[in-house]
Amino acid sequence: MSIVSIEQVPAPKEIARSRLNRWDSPWLNPKLIAGFVLVMSVVLLGVIGPFFWDVTQARVASAPLNLPPIWVKDPPAIFPDPDPAHPLGTESNGRDMLALLMAAAPGTLRVGLIAAGLGMTIGILLGFSAGFLGGWWDALVRTIADAVITIPSLAVLIVISAFVRQIDLTNMALLLALFAWPGPTRLIRAQVLSLRERGYVQMARISGASTLDIMFKEMMPNLLPYLAASFSGNVSANILAATALEALGLGPTRIPTLGMTIFYSIRAASILRGMWWWWGFPILLLILIFTGLFLITVGLDEIANPRLRGVQAG
């Protein structure tokens, strides 16, 4: 009898495979995937685009002025007729819009990634150490994080970049990182505080695991979805701040960015002149980026907090 009952239990491998067959992994979250696709489409535009399109047309005066996109029929008399050589049109400084977008998108993404990466790294170090060590260090980290988080960071960044003026992408990312760390720090600290009382962490402690081992081998894997959600939210916030600075004309001036395109377009009164393609395309790309990152964040949140998944179904 006992032999029979053993045979009835499927082998662990089969369980795993049948789960996979049912697409049951929480990481196959539709929002996460959709967000990833959106962000990747912008990345690919910047990475693959230059192989198919002459990006040097993103320079001033490399194309005729004020061409509307090719699908515009009967443009207002003030604009020339669309030219197939410039499918998305051109702006008033003689830049080809398609080339401009390809040249500008990677920079925008890079600023967000660098700043958020720095912010996360600082956040992980401070958050873990504060939550784990407690005491005066915790009080200090918490107080400063709370103070920095309430500072209107964009306003401070505006002053700093207005004073400094000459700024490149990397320095801008460094500046943004000044305000990118308190969010992750608070989040990680709170999670660490709740995790350290869990059974398996206590177990590890009793077993004599070192503090670093507990931090990175026991706690870190459980924090990954939170960290990932926080990271993508952070990237989005930093791209927003970078774009806002650029849109005020305070960004890097040597290389094109999406925000700078918006700045030139607003300065040239393109809204009132009806040149929607000038500001519309960079905004469209940014909307793709922001929506994508947002979906990724929400998807990761649902992975980290299964209760949120239930709401959708119910």
Partner: protein, 336 residues
């Protein structure tokens, strides 16, 4: 209750001062890490823009004296903090002899009005939507339609602002392009003026509300899910209380508390975002003043506006913090 103790008050006040000090210190330190003398650079930029700067030597001398650039850094820093603490913000460089204080005072009411109204609306709407999304009894139709209101959540307010200007001001001509009230109207408590202000403020407020309410809705949804599982909710239902009463006074009442903390934490970024919104809509608030300062390289003006922004936001956070014990009686700051 009576959760407000002297200790708590002092702690929150200390937090307020720390926030303002940190913000202003960053502004002091970081530009000084950049190479070059800021004053000479500024004057050369001014002459590059306008061809020739009158009395440029005097300007350099005046600035050197104002910032005491020849003094060691700690004396400069001490003077800087002293000036800020006494609200001595100096004269605008571009609109001399206008004082920065007066310029900020003139634009502050617009920002205050727009920002507080928009934030309040966004907070109320967003939290209601979020709570309804997590509520079992919400009609299915509403549950399907409510997420539509979150479409613009991830988009920065100023980008939606550009879209709104193009659609409703340029295309449909329903709303004005710029300004806070119609030209020729005397600001005053007349009905016509108020109507004009609302008319002009609709688009900027819309841009802020629509883009920020999703943040509240998502947070609220999460909190509501947690709250719905609590025992007192089941008990309330078992007692046969009206669903609306359970929803507002049992569910929302408890789920809203972390949201208020979140409000205090995000006020800074909301204020920062509205700076750009004002710039897009040429709304005569502090954000637009800041933009004017940037365009005219008016450093005293930029610094003054940002100082007031930081103080304002920190003050609002302080008020929320002090009100919190009243909202959540469970929290008592008295030592037991």
């Amino acid at each position: 209750m009576g959760g407000l103790t002297k200790e708590y008050l002092i702690k929150r006040l200390g937090m307020f001062l720390l926030t303002v000090w940190l913000g202003m210190t960053l502004i002091f330190i970081i530009p000084r890490l950049a190479p070059g003398d800021p004053i000479t650079a500024m004057v050369s930029r001014m002459s590059a823009q306008s061809g020739r700067v009158e009395n440029s030597d005097q300007i350099i001398a005046a600035w050197r004296e104002r910032f005491g650039l020849d003094a060691p850094w700690y004396i400069q820093y001490g003077r800087y903090l002293g000036n800020l603490a006494t609200f001595n913000l100096g004269y605008s460089l571009a609109y001399f002899p206008a004082e920065v204080e007066d310029m900020v005072a003139r634009s502050m009411p617009w920002t205050l009005g727009l920002l507080s109204l928009a934030t309040l609306m966004s907070f109320v709407l967003g939290n209601t939507v979020g709570a309804l999304l997590a509520w079992r009894r919400t009609p299915n139709l509403a549950k399907a339609l409510l997420p539509v209101s979150l479409t613009f959540t991830s988009i920065p307010a100023f980008m939606l602002g550009i879209l709104l200007v193009y659609t409703f001001a340029f295309g449909l001509r329903w709303f004005p392009f710029a300004g806070a009230f119609a030209r020729g109207l005397q600001p005053g408590p007349s009905w016509e003026f108020i109507k004009s202000v609302i008319y002009h403020g609709t688009l900027p407020a819309l841009a802020i509300v629509v883009t920020t309410m999703g943040f509240w809705a998502l947070g609220m949804r999460g909190m509501m899910v947690t709250t719905t599982g609590e025992d007192y909710m089941i008990l309330a239902e078992a007692k046969g209380l009206r669903p609306s009463r359970i929803f507002w006074l049992y569910g929302v009442r408890n789920a809203i508390l972390p949201q208020i903390t979140a409000l205090a934490l995000t006020l800074g970024s909301i204020a920062g975002g509205s700076v750009i919104v004002e710039y897009i809509f040429t709304y005569p608030g502090m954000g637009y003043l800041l933009y004017e300062g940037i365009v005219n390289t008016d450093y005293t003006l930029i610094q003054g506006v940002v100082y007031f922004l930081i103080v304002g936001v920190s003050l609002a956070v302080l008020i929320i913090d002090l009100l919190y014990p009243l909202i959540d009686p469970r929290i008592s700051y008295q030592k037991k």
